[in-house]
């Protein structure tokens, strides 16, 4: 996994609550058996005027001029602002793969859906929560300032605006360490293989029907 430490990035925004993973990556792209290549189809139904299909070259497709991420000022963004309950709905990790592949390394919202939130940490993407009032300020700042950037410092747990204002954010310490170091969860868990085996051995005696 790509480590995440400090990110100085261009900020884009989608000012909507309850953005679901069906919107982030529509179902037809879930037919892929690969983990990469989802970026061109991020927000596909909002982003293009035509209907997208897997394995299609998106470079010639008609863009929806009304979709905010299509504006030239947001090209190359690596930080995305959104509203409450971002990533709700389906568990599809493809939603995170699409964001990451598009170039987004950090999503900032007042709240996230649980499964999406969890999936981010497995892919080097930092989902972080800031209070609604702070989000309102950031949305206004982004809207009023083309080229608006933020600095996200994971070790320090701060988001810093261009004028030097720093907002602190909370993050689970074990998740933070994994993200900073780019650790592979499976490798970490397998260090406890003996404990897993001994748990299993006890359960086989206590509840053998679970192992049939």
């Amino acid at each position: 996994m790509k480590p995440f430490t400090r990110l100085d990035g261009l900020v884009a925004m989608v000012d909507r609550a309850n953005i679901d993973t069906d919107a982030i990556i529509p179902k037809q792209f879930l037919k892929s058996i690969k983990r990469s290549g989802f970026g061109p189809n991020l927000f596909d139904e909002w982003r293009y005027l035509d209907h997208g299909e897997p394995d299609q070259d998106c470079s010639g497709r008609p863009l929806n001029p009304d979709f905010i991420l299509n504006q030239p000022r947001y090209q190359g963004a690596s930080i995305l602002l959104a509203r409450e309950n971002f990533g709700c709905g389906s568990s599809r990790e493809h939603a995170v793969w699409a964001l990451e592949n598009f170039g987004i390394r950090c999503v900032i919202a007042p709240s996230f859906a649980d499964i999406f939130f969890n999936n981010c940490f497995k892919n080097g993407v930092l989902p972080l929560c800031l209070p609604v009032e702070t989000m309102d300020r950031l949305f206004a700042a982004v809207e009023g300032t083309p080229g608006y950037r933020l600095v996200v410092d994971l070790p320090a747990q701060t988001v810093t605006t261009p004028d030097g204002t720093a907002f602190a954010f909370e993050v689970d310490q074990s998740r933070k360490q994994c993200l900073i170091n780019g650790w592979d969860d499976i490798g970490l868990t397998l260090r406890h293989a003996e404990e897993i085996r001994s748990y299993e051995a006890q359960r086989r005696v206590a509840a053998p029907w679970l192992f049939a």
């Binding site: 000012d15 909507r16 609550a17 309850n18 679901d20 069906d22 919107a23 529509p26 179902k27 037809q28 879930l30 037919k31 892929s32 058996i33 690969k34 983990r35 139904e45 209907h51 394995d55 509203r83 409450e84 309950n85 709700c88 709905g89 389906s90 568990s91 599809r92 990790e93 493809h94 995170v96 709240s111 996230f112 859906a113 649980d114 499964i115 969890n118 999936n119 497995k122 892919n123 689970d172 310490q173 074990s174 969860d185 499976i186 970490l188 868990t189 397998l190 406890h192 293989a193 404990e195 897993i196 748990y199 299993e200 359960r203 509840a207 053998p208 029907w209 679970l210 192992f211 049939a212």
Partner: protein, 468 residues
């Protein structure tokens, strides 16, 4: 010390180890696998040279991409076909003992076939790369959806790294009136607490109205816990649970059955257990529900009208409502019964079980689908549900009325196969999500119960099934 909640009991029984910050390694008993979220996980195992930790914990079947055309012989869409063939190949390569391929009568939507086979049992931890895994909590299990990285994690380690959720008790007391079903109960709950109301919580559904539900009804309620934001929903074990599990193929037998039942009898919250939050609803006040917007929380009773965003004080919510109405092509204050329909879909992991098909057939019996409708589909949740329905003659009731009787699968719930809405079409669906584009780009979904969907199919628009 206060007693334990059901969630506490399930959690405690599965903790392998706990870190100082409370992060736990949780043992997973049952791993359900389908074709969409597993290929990258199997590939990950291959790339790292890892083997599945416990092959017999895996029950796998294709469901999302499978065609539903009667007697289909192949998948026309090459991308869908590749995905199903990839699952076939992975199951073969790893020699998975419980794989139900196309053609196997046991195959179906994983959340219908799992409980039906007894593959999900009370007291288990159950995961699947699918958010509707919450369904299995109806059996008194801790069941939740995970992403593909976690699918790989469970395959490789039989565990997941988890933080304990907060607990939310949703108590529905009293009795629902005639024509009001489990689907209406869960939609009313989501309307009440909102689509993020359960975020960060594990929900236990309780109260006399939940206890009175059949196992099928409880599966419907828990299925949509995720639509209230909660990864897991669950119901305490009682006689209904035990009677449902008994004699299913994967269920324990004989002396082991007796031991298991004794253990399962403990799977309820203690009377003095304390929940982080409690929400109560009056069952008698719940009417048949219909969604009007693009989030399951955008729901009203069938005798109400489409709400007016002008009445909403919160700016973000108001913008969401306006956007939803524009997408749905609806005007504020339109009576729900005035919404004309193009298609009707009965099926899905929410409402594709035998009881759902019986409820729909009971409404339809001897009547005809409205001529204004383009299509009315019935898609059984599994091969065995289909077989049972045919044995009861339900397929005849549906086809005589003008419904299409299909092969099992996820079908038009998410339109990964060929069953889908065209832009602008309104659909009464017994599924779980009314998101933009969910049933096909530009499609307009209204979530309802099977009985309400059946009545709407006959009328061509929504009607109150209680007076139909």
């Amino acid at each position: 010390m206060a007693g334990k909640t059901l969630y506490d009991k399930l959690w405690d029984a599965h903790v392998v180890r706990t870190e100082a910050d409370g992060t736990a390694l949780l043992y997973i008993d049952r791993h359900l696998v389908h074709e969409v979220t597993s290929p990258q996980a199997f590939e990950g195992l291959r790339l790292t040279g890892r083997q599945p930790w416990r092959r017999n914990s895996i029950v796998a079947m294709p469901d999302h991409n499978t065609p539903t055309d009667p007697g289909f012989t192949r998948i026309d869409d090459p991308v869908s076909r590749t995905q199903v063939e990839t699952l076939d190949a992975n199951a073969r390569e790893l020699d998975l003992p419980s794989y139900f391929p196309i053609g196997d009568l046991r195959r179906g939507i994983v959340h219908v076939a799992g409980p039906e086979q007894g593959a999900t049992l009370p007291g288990m931890t159950v995961v699947c790369g699918d958010s509707h895994t919450a369904t299995h909590g109806a059996l008194g299990a801790l069941a939740f959806g995970v992403g593909t990285s976690e699918v790989e994690h469970v395959m490789a380690t039989q565990c997941l790294i988890q933080k304990k959720s907060k607990t939310l008790l949703i108590r529905v007391d009293g009795a629902v009136g005639p024509g009001v079903t489990a689907k209406d109960i869960i939609l009313a709950i989501i309307g009440h607490i909102g689509t993020a109301g359960g975020t960060g919580y594990a929900i236990e559904f309780g109260g006399s109205a939940i206890q009175a539900l059949s196992m099928e009804g409880r599966l419907t309620v828990c299925n949509m816990a995720i639509e209230a934001g909660a990864r897991a929903g669950m119901v305490a074990v009682d006689d209904t649970t035990i009677a449902y599990v008994k004699d299913r193929p994967f269920a324990p037998k004989d002396e082991l059955w007796e031991r298991a039942v004794a253990a399962w009898r403990e799977l309820h919250s203690d009377p003095d257990a304390v929940f982080d939050r409690v929400v109560t609803l009056d069952a008698a006040a719940i009417k048949p529900q219909v969604t009007w917007g693009t989030s399951p929380e955008m729901v009203v009773a069938v005798d109400q009208a489409v709400p007016d965003p002008a009445q909403e004080a919160d700016a973000t919510k108001r913008a969401g409502m306006e956007r939803a109405l524009q997408y749905m092509g609806l005007q504020p204050n339109t009576p729900m019964t005035a919404i004309m329909l193009d298609r009707v879909f009965i099926g899905s992991c929410t409402n594709g079980r035998i009881e759902d098909l019986r409820a729909a057939a009971a409404v339809i019996q001897g009547r005809k689908v409205a001529s204004s409708l383009k299509q009315a589909l019935v898609v059984p949740g599994s091969g065995l549900v289909k077989q049972q329905a045919e044995a009861e003659g339900l397929d005849q009731v549906f086809t005589a009325a003008g419904f299409e009787w299909r092969e099992p699968g996820c079908s038009m719930c998410l339109a990964m196969n060929a069953d889908r809405l065209l832009p602008g079409e309104h659909c009464a669906a017994t599924s779980n999500r009314n998101f933009e584009g969910r049933q096909g780009q530009g499609g307009r979904t209204h979530l309802v119960s099977p009985a309400m969907a059946a009545a709407a199919a006959l009328a061509g628009h929504f009607v109150d099934v209680r007076t139909f």
